[in-house]
């Protein structure tokens, strides 16, 4: 085997290349114009400083980019979400998870007051909160159940020890009743009466028959 020192050096350099030539990590927010990106980064930085998770805020910005929204709109929506999360932090205290932050912030978007959120503070109740907040948001936004009625019902269940499976079970049955023609409010009250604190929830079928999409949003593309 005959090798020149230069060829040896070249071969060693080629062997080392894969280590350094990893795919560069591109920040998706780079698609924003510099001013908007700076504003979004500033909001994310503020969130981190306040101990608020920035992942849901970044995801909101990414959703706006995916929807080809105006950069000003994206900044405004991210700022609104950040403000909602700040309110959620004050209302629910510091002992909540990132998921609970995001669920509570989206509830504020749906018109639930911070005073209502405050009642979900986990000082006396150790139950997880995400499932309750998610189902509450759906009952208000999709089924149009009055906010106060839906909030008090879900709050009562949560305080009595209902967990995620209980709330999803309730959601499934109420949804089924509404599809069969009952009014949303009556369906909710009827199904809540079936809840017995401390009893294991019935199995919720994970393979619920899929319905065709309703009122789809048509995009321009």
């Amino acid at each position: 085997m005959s090798w020149s020192p230069l060829r040896t050096a070249l071969c060693l350099a080629c062997l080392a290349l894969p280590a350094t030539a990893q795919e560069p990590i591109v920040d998706p927010l780079a698609k924003l114009d510099p001013t908007s990106r700076f504003q979004v980064e500033l909001i994310l930085d503020s969130a981190r400083t306040l101990g608020i998770p920035d992942r849901p805020l970044r995801s909101t910005a990414m959703l706006g980019l995916s929807r080809h929204a105006n950069p000003r709109t994206i900044v405004a929506v991210v700022r609104q979400s950040f403000n909602n999360m700040r309110v959620a932090k004050i209302a629910l205290g510091n002992s909540i998870s990132e998921d609970e932050y995001a669920a509570a912030a989206s509830l504020l978007n749906a018109g639930v007051s911070s005073a209502t959120l405050t009642q979900f503070r986990r000082e006396k109740v150790a139950q997880p909160l995400s499932g309750a907040l998610i189902v509450l948001g759906d009952l208000i936004t999709r089924h149009g159940i009055p906010r106060d009625e839906a909030s008090s019902t879900i709050l009562k269940m949560w305080q009595e020890g209902a967990g995620d499976a209980d709330f999803y079970g309730l959601w499934t049955r109420v949804d089924r009743d509404i599809l069969s023609g009952q009014s949303p409010g009556i369906a909710l009250q009827n199904r809540v009466r079936e809840f017995v604190p401390g009893r294991a929830p019935d199995n919720v079928s994970p393979t619920a028959p899929a319905r065709p999409p309703e009122q789809p949003e048509t995009t321009s593309s």
Partner: protein, 207 residues
Amino acid sequence: MIEDELDPYVEWIAREARRPVQVDAAARARLMSAVRAEPRPRRRRLDVGRLFEPRSFTLSPMMSLATAAGLVGIGVLLGFGTYRGGRSLANSSSKGVASQPPGQQEAVRTTDTVRIVNFVVLAPNASKVSLVGDFNEWKEGEHLMTRAPNGDAWSIAIPLTPGRHVYAFVINGENGTQWVADPTAPLAPGDAFGVPNSVVLVGGSSS
């Protein structure tokens, strides 16, 4: 032998060593002329050509294998160190709570941190359906769904970390592109960009 007896002998040796050597003047001149006749030594310069001259060396098969393995190991270690700066799916802990929201079937629990979630939507007239969400930065086409062979349902199974995820379906068909929420899952309130999204809670609440 004692030291006093040694001294005269040592002194004699030193005296003989100090005596100048008588050199013949002619011999000295011959020597110096011979030295001057020699060319002056030149300073060695870097010979670039020598870098390109082939060299030969021998390497046993075992030694070459060991060298190759060492180089690969260094590359892997350096590459791993670089990649750690990138994204990682399994970066959150699981509470192990089995929560199965309707519409999404948790088929397999792969590790403590990632679960496979099956998404299904009915779209009879669609030519292409994508799943978008916070888990793929809402990139259309990143998770393309596949049509069931004998039906109108489209499905995809993807690994998700435990927790709350927001998502939607992007349906391409005769009516253009439609962004639709999952009709079998709770709606995410606050569709700020004019599109409805759904929520899935994988593995129960984290607290």
